[in-house]
């Protein structure tokens, strides 16, 4: 791991989907095992460029997510590397048994990209807004589960996964995110990243909530409260050693996730700390369904703002 954090956080130049396309196009130059699978959402993830360059290794199979998981399993039997994308709900909920058995239980490999993480599904509303995808895939034994923080991380993780025989789920925002990491940073799957050091509490966040956690940290500092911030982009296997260390150091953990507080990062952290007396407070979606709205509205609606994190920290102190 060699992570450099930016001084100022601005909107990324690249959309996450552009990173997906560009990285795969580059990897496929020297790796003829890569096969792209889509289920009629290619326009949404903008992999048309990959399709143009590698038409024989692009399977836009139609609106059939369950079939897509099964086909990927078959490709993997023959040693190919399926990269599967659809919206998070359809990549998990819709096709869960196929994912669980044909890929997971059969011990086959694929990289599954679930896009429009949580509230970033915005105007697509409740049917398309995954607050449960991480909970589902966490239940697949041996599966690696991650949520991407920004395009720099996404590219680096894709490059690493391409060399590993593994079944992984990558939860992503499809468009722009705040850019947190400097170009050239490298990440270690399964290791949390300590972004801020403070002794009063620790905020453990993933995805868009990393930026909100950093904002919360700055707000708390103005009130004389010093918190640590950890980017826990690998949700499974979770970095238990780091969590135990910071639970011990700060005696207070607050998790922040763009997901139901049941089943996702907050649950994973609670499980990892089950033998400690340290309190864990979860900021996230409180067991509700999605709905339409702008991301800014939804952030308030589901109490996911920096201010909500600040409030949660203060309540614990």
């Amino acid at each position: 791991m060699n992570v450099k954090v930016k001084q100022k956080f601005k909107i990324s130049n690249k959309e996450m989907r552009t990173t997906y396309n560009d990285t795969l196009v580059d990897l496929a130059k020297t790796d003829d095992k890569i096969v792209l699978l889509e289920a009629d959402l290619m326009r949404a993830i903008k992999t048309n460029d990959f399709q143009k360059k590698y038409p024989n290794r692009t399977l836009n199979i139609g609106i059939m997510e369950q079939n897509m998981m099964g086909v990927a399993a078959g490709l993997s039997v023959r040693g190919l590397k399926p990269y599967i994308h659809t919206f998070g709900p359809f990549a998990t909920r819709r096709s869960f048994d196929q994912l669980f058995l044909s890929l997971g239980y059969a011990d086959l490999n694929a990289i599954i990209i679930g896009s429009d993480a949580g509230i970033s599904a915005s105007h697509n509303g409740g049917t398309h807004m995954p607050f449960e995808d991480l909970g589902l895939v966490r239940l697949v034994p041996n599966m690696t589960v991650m949520e991407m923080t920004d395009p720099v991380m996404f590219e680096n993780i894709l490059r690493q996964l391409n060399d590993q025989k593994q079944l992984s789920y990558l939860r992503i925002v499809r468009k722009h995110m705040l850019s947190i990491y400097q170009e050239g940073s490298t990440f270690e799957i399964g290791k949390g990243i300590v972004l801020r050091e403070g002794k009063d509490a620790t905020i453990v966040a993933a995805g868009i909530m990393v930026a909100n956690a950093l904002k919360a940290q700055a707000l708390l500092q103005e009130d004389g409260i010093n918190v640590s911030v950890i980017d826990m982009f690998t949700i499974k296997p979770i970095d238990q050693a780091l969590l135990l260390e910071y639970a011990d150091k700060t005696q207070c953990i607050v998790t922040a996730e763009n997901h139901n507080i049941i089943g996702g990062l907050g649950s994973a952290v609670l499980e990892a700390l089950e033998t400690t007396p340290v309190t864990v407070k979860r900021v996230g979606v409180k067991d509700r369904f999605g709905q339409v709205g702008t991301q800014a509205f939804l952030e308030k609606e589901y109490e996911l703002t920096a201010e909500d994190i600040v409030k949660a920290v203060k309540e614990q102190l």
């Binding site: 139609g62 609106i63 509303g125």
Partner: protein
């Protein structure tokens, strides 16, 4: 004709223009079908959307919500003013149809392939309850990719659901392009007929033809009926017809102007 289809088209275009983006293609292709269903065919009482003796409608391709909302507002299920709130915070009119939010919406949809099963379930319930209400569902041709559709076809045939009419919006396009290019489904009507259904195909923009087909469906006993609607995605919006990017459009300033012009023109047509 009382220009009901044109009115639906106008209201739908206004909604989408106001919001600036939306699923215009798949909304425009089902306007005539909705017009026939709600203006002629279905037994309904807009002042009592939960009326037990009503006919049911499931928009399985739930992303065409805007067309359905316009139809419901014009029939008086709710105030037309509400149409301005498409996709706003806490709206009653979300992009995908939601039975909990909108008066007159019988089933929640948006995850493709699911509405048709729910429609078959409603039809079966009516059989169990020995009722004569009918059930109509509109499914997209891209949506037919989903395996669940074929499970529902088999269920409906086995249970002799002659109170169920499946209308397939064959507009030849799905999200990423032409349906034939993505997954060639052959002759859709023949395919459905192969499942034992009574299946016919009509011009989906010809209201008389649709009416005739739905009338025929009523006379068919012991098997469900499927009406394949031969349609054009984004029908009536000339600059988007036959365009592979017409599924969900974020309108440019120029397109907004063109929409406004089209709305005026359509309004002129019916006055």
């Amino acid at each position: 004709m009382d220009n009901f289809a044109t009115k639906i088209r106008i209201e739908t275009l206004k909604m989408l223009r106001n919001r600036g983006f939306g699923h215009i293609g798949g909304s425009m292709s089902i306007v005539e079908a909705l017009s026939v269903l709600y203006d002629n065919e279905m037994t309904i009482d807009p002042s009592n959307p939960d009326w037990e003796d009503r006919d049911y409608f499931v928009l399985s391709k739930g992303h065409a919500g805007p067309a359905l909302y316009s139809t419901l507002a014009l029939k008086g299920y709710f105030d037309k003013q509400l149409l301005n709130t498409l996709n706003e915070a806490h709206t009653n009119l979300p992009s995908h149809a939601d039975r909990l939010k909108t008066p007159g919406v019988d089933m929640t949809t948006g995850s493709l392939g699911q509405g048709i099963s729910a429609a078959a379930g409603i039809a079966k319930a009516l059989k169990i309850q020995k009722k004569n209400n009918r059930v109509y569902a509109i499914v997209g041709d891209g949506e037919l990719n989903e395996g669940q559709v074929y499970e529902a076809l088999m269920f409906a045939f086995h249970h002799k659901l002659d109170n169920l009419v499946l209308m397939i919006d064959e507009n030849k396009l799905q999200l990423d392009g032409y349906t034939d290019d993505i997954c060639d489904q052959g002759d859709i009507r023949l395919k459905i007929a192969g499942f034992g259904w009574h299946a016919l195909r009509v011009d989906g923009h010809n209201e008389a033809a649709i009416k005739h087909a739905l009338q025929e469906a009523k006379e068919i006993k012991k098997v469900p009926t499927c009406v394949v609607l031969d349609t054009i995605k984004a029908k009536g919006v000339s600059f988007l017809e036959n365009n592979t990017s017409n599924h969900h459009v974020r309108f440019t300033d120029k397109q907004i102007k063109e929409l406004e012009h089209l709305i005026k023109q359509l309004e002129g047509d019916i006055t």
